[in-house]
């Protein structure tokens, strides 16, 4: 009898496992074949040598990483280093600006009537459903020479006469903030909605200044949302391609453009792959750091993207 039930249970386990395999396998195999393998191949390319037609070749070398660091035929040049630093700076600046804009917006939505809130969130998110190229093109139209915004900037002496506000690093920052604002508003709103207002009340009752009340009672409670938003903003911003390409011009190039150019125009796959590895390291380091911070603050589960 006992043996029977064991057999039956054993069969059940087998059929469960088969069920797992059949349901999950097609997708798992798909992602492994069409994403994991290509990524591994790309990493391998980074350690190969650049052939005459931009194709990766043997022997293995670290030449591509040397090139990425700026060493070329003519000795060292700072171009790639500038690109890297610019990517970091643009990511940092746009993330901070997005946070500054998103905080009051997310808070304001929670102060409005409950039936309006989903609609307000929708209003914030809808522009990001349009294709990125089109949105960026919209900014090109707005910032071009001869537009009211460019004229105003000229009148204020911010830019030279007959110039537009794009291409410039300013335009790239603007484009990044525009692009990523909804990704910060949504998680912050979720955090604000759960906010325990009793703590804020207590802080005010104890004569805390608004700044201190915010810092001690509001900020820690919204931190999980802030971290989730930072992951959603900073990581894609660092690898951004479209916005710097259209709004930045030659002096606004970021790492994404450096990488992409190696596969399109100047054709040096190993160098591009090395840049991609750098981007991957930054991505996973960023994710890891956010998880660690999230866990330490006890809100670890909420920092899931």
């Amino acid at each position: 009898m006992a043996d029977m039930s064991l057999v039956v249970r054993g069969r059940a386990v087998v059929s469960e496992t088969r069920h797992l395999l059949f349901s999950v396998m097609p997708g798992a195999v798909w992602i492994i074949v069409f994403l994991v393998l290509p990524s591994v191949y790309l990493m391998a390319v980074a350690f190969m040598t650049n052939g005459p037609y931009g194709q990766p070749q043997m022997p293995l070398s670290l030449e591509s990483f040397r090139q990425l660091a700026g060493f070329g035929f003519l000795g060292w040049s700072p171009g790639n280093l500038y690109t890297l630093l610019r990517s970091l700076w643009q990511t940092l600046l746009s993330t901070v600006l997005v946070v500054i804009v998103a905080y009051p917006i997310a808070y304001y939505i929670t102060t409005c009537r409950e039936k309006w809130r989903p609609i307000m969130l929708l209003v914030v998110v809808v522009p990001s459903w349009t294709n990125q190229v089109i949105r960026t093109f919209g900014w090109m139209n707005l910032l071009a020479p001869g537009t009211p915004l460019s004229d105003a900037a000229q009148a204020l002496g911010l830019i030279a006469p007959n110039m537009g506000l794009y291409p410039s690093n300013f335009a790239v920052t603007l484009g990044l903030v525009y692009n990523f604002l909804p990704f910060m508003v949504l998680p912050l709103y979720a955090a604000f909605e759960k906010l325990d207002t009793a703590q804020v009340q207590a802080a005010q009752d104890l004569y805390a200044s608004p700044v201190r009340a915010f810092w001690h009672a509001v900020f820690p409670q919204t931190l999980p949302g802030l971290l989730a938003g930072t992951v959603l903003v900073a990581i894609p911003a660092f690898g951004m391609y479209v916005i710097p390409e259209l709004l930045g011009g030659g002096k606004g190039m970021m790492l994404g453009n450096l990488v992409a150019n190696q596969f399109a125009g100047s054709a040096n796959w190993p160098l591009g792959a090395a840049g991609a590895i750098l981007m991957l390291i930054a991505t996973f380091a960023g994710l890891f750091a956010m998880r660690r911070i999230g866990k330490r603050l006890g809100g670890g589960e909420e920092v899931v993207i």
Binding site: F22, A28, S39, V242, A273
Partner: protein, 265 residues
Amino acid sequence: MKKRTLQRGLSTFWWVTIVFLYLPLLVVMLFSFNASNSAANFTGFSLRWYERLLGNEQIISAFWNSLVLAIVSSVMALVIGCLIGYGMYRHRHRKLGWLIVLIYLPIVLPDIVFGISEMAFFVSIHRHTGLLQPGLGTMIIAHVTFQIPFVALIVYSRLVGLDATLFEAAKDLYATPFKRAVHFLMPTLKPALISAFFLSFTLSIDDFVISFFTAGPESATLPIYIWGAIKKGVSPEINAIATLMIGAVAIAAVLSLMFNRKGRY
């Protein structure tokens, strides 16, 4: 008194931000009706750019490519992603960490890395075997890859939201797994599947970077065509295509939202 000032300030800030968010789109839409080809001055209302769209074969072909790509990839992702989502739910008590990592990988990978690794991979495979020539086929593969996780997560979260005893009841009611799937699982998941389909569709239409790197010479989609037109020098026709795309995505998004809501309440 102070609180009211704060509220008023916030409300002003809200409206400024909304203008900021919609201004670029409105400018594109406005200038699509411009009589002249100036990007700075609106000289009068006309539909000439829309008329010109209809006569442009490249745009028509790009439109069909976009549509075929979005529909085929969404259907494929729906089937594969739905299976994963169901598998994740059925076996949620097991250790499926590897699967979670696999599912999040397409989401966290930067677009550009995603695009170029697939491109490098496809090109190499093609050189050695003749398979996977860059074109609509490779684009569909790439799109399915980034759509699967979203479908799986939507289906999974819908199943988790259900009462677990429902599954037991269905087991008692319908003898075969097939009947259970047809009479219980499919109707229950229908709203989630419809919303997942529209999300996949929107993601596909929205994508530029991954399409750009996996496309072949004949398979330009609308965003790729627009990109090329911008790079060559701004043509006012772009405003007209862009306006049509803004409208299409807005409709798809609203539909997805409506179905999602019906499923929840």
